[in-house]
């Protein structure tokens, strides 16, 4: 029964493997869509999934907006760099085109719908459960072990980094836009890597001491249930509906 949280948000009760595969299928289908109607429906589906995921909606949408901050420049350039029917003319003969606006909206909707669905379906898992589910989905064992080690030590090393920054502040280090700051941070990173390697040597010793034979057992015992079948059927129907709407809209146009 591991891997399921009873009484939690509906999506969290679905088998992790089904959630991963669904998020992937959603990504592939939605990147293939090009009509704004179908993309809007995909975005609505992602928002619905967010509602059923138990993630704090405000914080998740803020994260998504942060990603949009990175791509906003590219999206803002597109109307002006795409050839086509002029939609609006700015001074100095700069022309924005209808096709360009369409493309920018298309990319924006696709990117946000896919990442939101991923966070709702997969981002709600414990990182360790994600690793175990990937192993059950036949992802190479070495890659899964690497993932499990990475998630285990990110928090440890983040705390170490934070302690180092406190130590630097105690010695009157004030970050600024100058060479001294960059060199100091470089030394800090170098030291972090050295310590990481030394830590890994101790970990290996400890593992060998406990009879490590090169295989990390996966304790999670996933079981496929009626809920999972229902979820997969429903999700599959949803994807079919997206494709049907896309085809219908393309034919109408």
């Amino acid at each position: 029964m591991a891997g399921r949280a009873r009484g939690a948000a509906p999506l969290r009760q679905v088998d992790p493997r089904a959630r991963i595969v669904s998020a992937l299928a959603f990504a592939v289908v939605v990147t293939g869509l090009s009509t704004l109607g179908a993309l809007a429906l995909a975005m609505a589906a992602a928002l619905l999934a967010l509602g059923c995921s138990g993630l704090p909606a405000a914080r998740t949408l803020k994260r998504m907006a942060m990603m949009d901050g990175f791509i906003i420049f590219m999206l803002l350039i597109l109307p002006f760099s795409t050839p086509g029917t002029p939609a609006l003319t700015l001074p100095f003969g700069v022309v924005a085109t209808v096709e360009g606006f369409r493309l920018a909206v298309e990319i924006g909707l696709t990117a946000n719908a896919v990442i939101l669905m991923l966070m709702a379906l997969v981002g709600t898992m414990e990182p360790v459960m994600l690793g175990h589910a990937l192993a059950r989905l036949r992802v190479p064992r070495a890659l899964v072990h690497l993932l499990l080690f990475t998630v285990r030590y990110i928090e440890v090393l983040r705390a170490e980094y934070a302690r180092s920054r406190v130590a630097m502040r105690a010695r009157a280090f004030r970050p600024g836009s100058n060479r001294h700051t960059w060199v100091s941070l470089g030394h800090l990173i170098g030291m972090m890597l050295v310590r990481a390697l030394e830590r890994s040597e101790r970990i290996l010793q400890a593992m060998k001491c406990r009879g490590f034979t090169g295989r990390i057992p996966l304790l999670d015992d996933f079981s496929w249930q009626a809920t999972d079948r229902r979820f997969c059927a429903l999700f599959g129907l949803g994807l079919l509906a997206l494709v049907a709407l896309e085809v219908a809209l393309v034919h109408l146009a």
């Binding site: 992937l24 990504a27 592939v28 939605v30 990147t31 998740t60 994260r63 990603m67 791509i71 590219m74 350039i77 597109l78 002006f80 760099s81 795409t82 990319i107 696709t110 990117a111 896919v114 990442i115 939101l116 991923l118 966070m119 997969v122 981002g123 990182p127 070495a142 890659l143 072990h145 690497l146 993932l147 499990l148 080690f149 990475t150 998630v151 285990r152 030590y153 990110i154 090393l157 983040r158 970050p175 600024g176 836009s177 060479r179 960059w182 060199v183 941070l185 470089g186 030394h187 990173i189 170098g190 972090m192 890597l193 050295v194 990481a196 390697l197 890994s200 970990i203 290996l204 593992m207």
Partner: protein, 203 residues
């Protein structure tokens, strides 16, 4: 630096996924069970390093340090950086799903190139190690932005201005990464030169 879903042409996305699968396979071959703890903890260290914000001019940038990753991890940089990007997409919502292959390739391939080209110079140690570290730090960012620009340009002419913007916006980042990597290399080579052989066969 992250490309999102829906922006690239399908051949670019598929090509990136295949190339990354190949790179990960090569990287995993170098990663025996004995070396998985080292690869895992170092991968976590690079993940944490990528969250470090460095002041530059009026704003700040987050580090990539893929040059350093290549020098330390070699081909294992592929699986290590893939894991980092996967975690960022799933838990932070950065990047995308179908573009995971392209994004990994754009960051990990430059890392591997820097590791293969400059690794020997750095392992020799001495006063020049820091210099070559700096060259590697700048080269990795230059290659990454170049790859990102090529991916965008291959996806359509309308992306050309965005591709140029990406390239020029990263010139100051190149300088920061060069200084940082040089400092990190100069410290590590004195304190623990084995760091640059972490993924090599143990004696």
């Amino acid at each position: 630096m992250h490309i999102v879903d829906g922006a690239l042409a399908s051949p670019v996305v598929i090509g990136g996924a295949i190339a990354t699968a190949g790179g990960i396979a090569l990287g995993l071959r170098a990663m025996t069970m004995e070396r998985i703890p080292a690869a895992g903890v170092l991968s976590a260290a690079f993940f944490v390093a990528s969250l470090v914000h460095v002041p530059i001019g009026p704003s700040s940038v987050h580090l990539i340090l893929n040059g350093m990753a290549g020098l330390v991890l070699g081909w294992a940089a592929f699986p290590a950086l893939f894991v980092g990007l996967l975690l960022q997409a799933v838990f932070f919502g950065f990047g995308g799903v179908t573009v995971l292959g392209v994004n990994t390739f754009n960051i990990a391939m430059p890392a591997v190139i820097v590791g293969l080209l400059l690794g020997p110079m750095i392992r020799r140690g001495g006063a020049h190690a820091a210099f070559w570290g700096g060259v590697g730090g700048a080269l990795a960012i230059a290659l990454t932005t170049g790859f990102v620009a090529v991916c965008l340009a291959l996806s359509g002419d309308q992306f050309l201005p965005a591709a140029k913007l990406v390239f020029f916006a990263h010139i100051p980042i190149m300088a920061v990464e060069a200084v940082l990597t040089a400092a990190a290399v100069s410290l590590a080579i004195r304190v623990k030169p084995e760091l640059f052989r972490a993924m090599e066969t143990q004696p």
